[in-house]
Symmetry: C2
Subunit: 151 residues, 2 copies
Amino acid sequence: MAAPGRYLEDFTVGLAFRSPRAIRVTAERIKSFAAEFDPQPSHVDEGTARGSLFGELVASGWHTAAVAMRLIVDSDLGLSGQGAGVAIESMRLPRPVRSGDELRVEGAVTEVRPSRSQADRGVVKFQALVYNQRDEVVLEAAHVIMVRRRR
Amino acid sequence: MAAPGRYLEDFTVGLAFRSPRAIRVTAERIKSFAAEFDPQPSHVDEGTARGSLFGELVASGWHTAAVAMRLIVDSDLGLSGQGAGVAIESMRLPRPVRSGDELRVEGAVTEVRPSRSQADRGVVKFQALVYNQRDEVVLEAAHVIMVRRRR
C-alpha cells in the first residue's frame, strides 16, 4: 500500500524512504519482459544467454528500472497522485539482476524547490538505490520529478 | 529484424541509427504496464488520470523508456548479442506519451573506447531521441554500454 501523496511543501531534503517489501524477479518475467522490450540474447532465453557477455540469463536493465519504480511507488516516499517524472540525472546498473533475485529500494530526497515557470508546482530530486537479497546495489538512480504545491 | 551485432571495432563516433518502424502505444498497454510497475493515477486509468497533473491518461516514463529500448534493439545500431547496458548518463521526458502515439527512435554514437580494466571489451556511448508521430521529442537519453572486442 503506497503512502498518501505528498505535496511540494511536504518534501524536505534528507527525507528517507524505503520499500515495505521486496519484489522477486522470476526467469519467466525476465524472458517475457525482454521479448517485448529488450530482445537481446542475455535476456530472452537461458540458452542464448550462455553465449552472451553475462554467460547466463539476466534481466534487462529496463526491467530492473521498472521494478525499481514499483518499489518507489510502494514506498513511503509518498509520490502517488501528485507527481510526474521529468528526468533521470543518472542511472547506473553496477550488477546484473538474475532469476530469483529479491529487490528492495532505499533512498532520500536531495533537492526541493518551486518551479520557476509554473506557480502551481515544484521540483523534487531524490536518489534511489536498489539492493538484491545479498545487499548488493543493482541499480542507482537520481530522479527528477514535478510535484504539485498546495493551493 | 535487428541488424547483426557489432563488436567494439565496428562502432565509430557519429555512427547514426534509426528504428525501421514505429511502435504504437495503446491505452491497454499503458494501463497494464502501470498496474505492474508504476501504479500512479495518471497511468493506471482514464478516470483517475483526469485529476492528475497531466489531466489525461499518459504512459509511465518507464514504459516509454522500455519502448525506446525496443526501438533501439530493432534499429541498425547493431547492439544485439554483444552489448550490455551499464548506465544512463541522462534521460529527459520532455513530453508525455498518450494512447495511440506512434514512437520511433533516431540516434548517434558519441564515444567509443576500450575498457581500462577488461581487455576483451570496450565502452560505447550513444544518444537516442524518441519522437512521436508529430515529430515531437518524448524521450532523450544518453546510453553507456559495454561491448565485446573482436578476439
